[in-house]
Subunit: 285 residues, 2 copies
């Protein structure tokens, strides 16, 4: 259990101390793993790119036929209330919408909404400077465009990732690459084109920003990416809300490019950080 | 929320009134849909085929790398204690093992064990006499041999099932049939051979019993079953702990056999009921 008693959470319609936030075991998340969520990075009192995350959260809910108990404006208001109350410096805010307290343990009813906030640790400088090693696994998420709470496969693979001294696992289906359990994937081709898999992926907010940023300096596109494309790539990196742009230097036994983080990856990371800082400045004005 | 205040549940190490059984929201079932479960039918104080269900529950836990906080004997003891305390006539007993209260919201720690029991409704006589209509959907469960709590797909399909006036959805992958979200599938070929899909299925306890029973009267086998095989079949039925043997008379737009429950299906249902009654008699001696 989270032991930080100073934090507050939104649970079942009210703001409560995090350590007192419980769900009855009839909830469909516990009974059937049924729910959606989203995760926003917060700098001070500013949730970064909040509207993008709300768009995706609402889209996930719709795809899973779950009705949000708050309007979008009420949800936004609740988020700002919680963020102010918790007063964290750099944090992650998580919204979870479950199938609710189901009578028959199967059919969704009135969904339950939870919002939690925790201090956030960004990737260490050493990981950014050295890049990471990843492994691959043949799998496609069931409903790729929705951010469901189903991480059975990703969590089950933790021990394999560790056993191979890697940091993450990249999903592919018969050699066609999609995404990580919690991050998107990019390669940089030899001609500096920045490419991210087009299909069977969650539409990542950081992925979207990086595509925009990359388009200013290079050619940037969503396209089919194969394991063979990775082996031929100049650079590779992952993107996520928490990890921003994190260089990848090894995929299974294949060394990417020079085996060190590439210039394109590092330039995009700097541009993304600048964009985040811009958001915070704008909010402060 | 389950409102039956007279029922008791096992939750986090103790027996408590069901309406007071809660999990903290840091539990990995809520955060990541991570957990396994099993479901046993109980007649009076007798859980039917309990050892088969315990075998499967422990196997699911092992496949998902979750350590049960009780020994098998302790679990059995706890089940009998709860069953006696609740004193229900015909009931379903559910054991859930979650990834526990995870510090980082992703990595499983000490799993949480819950056991609940509810009165059980068997299929109506009318459904048995008339048979049911089902639809099909291209999908294979992620880890078919484990009974995980992940029912994202099954629940998401509820509205499609209803819209088509059907009762259940049968999964297949490119025409090769596997199972229902919560039941196994059988066909009876024109030569009376009873066949159930061999691969990508949960090893159902009722499936196992029906294969045994069928083997006494007919040829019975686990084999590849295609959608085309169904169209050519003499009979079809599903099996589950709750539904026993339930005849299927229509699959999508295809009428099975005569469009009425077949003799083989109904004979197997009678044999299964007899086997269940035998279990209860033995326990009473």
């Amino acid at each position: 259990m989270q032991s930080n008693a100073k934090l507050f959470a939104y649970n079942l319609g009210g703001v409560v101390p995090l350590d007192q936030a419980f769900l009855h075991i009839s909830d469909l998340s516990i009974q059937r793993g049924y729910g959606v969520f989203d995760f926003v990075k917060v700098h001070g009192n500013t949730p970064l790119f909040l509207d993008d995350y709300l768009d995706r959260f609402l889209s996930s809910a719709q795809q899973m036929e779950l009705q949000l108990p708050l309007s979008r404006e009420e949800l936004k208001h609740t988020i700002f209330l919680l963020v102010q109350k918790n007063g964290l410096e750099v944090s992650g805010l998580k919204m979870i919408l479950t199938g609710g307290y189901s009578d028959d343990g199967f059919t969704p009813v009135a969904p339950n909404l939870l919002i939690t906030q925790h201090p956030l640790t960004l990737p260490t400088q050493s990981k950014v400077e050295n890049g990471i090693k990843i492994i691959t696994h043949d799998y496609v998420r069931e409903i790729p465009t929705a951010k469901t709470i189903n991480y059975s496969m990703g969590i089950r693979l933790i021990s394999q990732i560790k056993a191979k001294g890697a940091e993450e696992v990249l999903y592919h289906r018969q050699g066609i690459v999609s995404e990580f359990p919690r991050c998107n994937f990019f390669i940089v081709r030899q001609d500096n084109t920045v490419v991210t898999p087009a299909e069977n992926v969650l539409p990542g907010v950081t992925r979207k920003r990086v595509l925009e940023i990359a388009g200013r300096r290079y050619r940037a596109e969503q396209a089919k990416v194969t394991l063979e494309d990775i082996a031929q790539a100049k650079e590779a990196f992952l993107t996520s809300t928490t990890k921003r742009v994190l260089p990848i230097v090894q995929v299974d036994d294949t060394i990417i490019g020079t085996g060190k983080p590439g210039d394109v990856s590092l330039a995009l990371l700097q541009d993304l950080i600048a964009l985040e800082e811009e958001q915070v400045s704008v909010a402060k004005v």
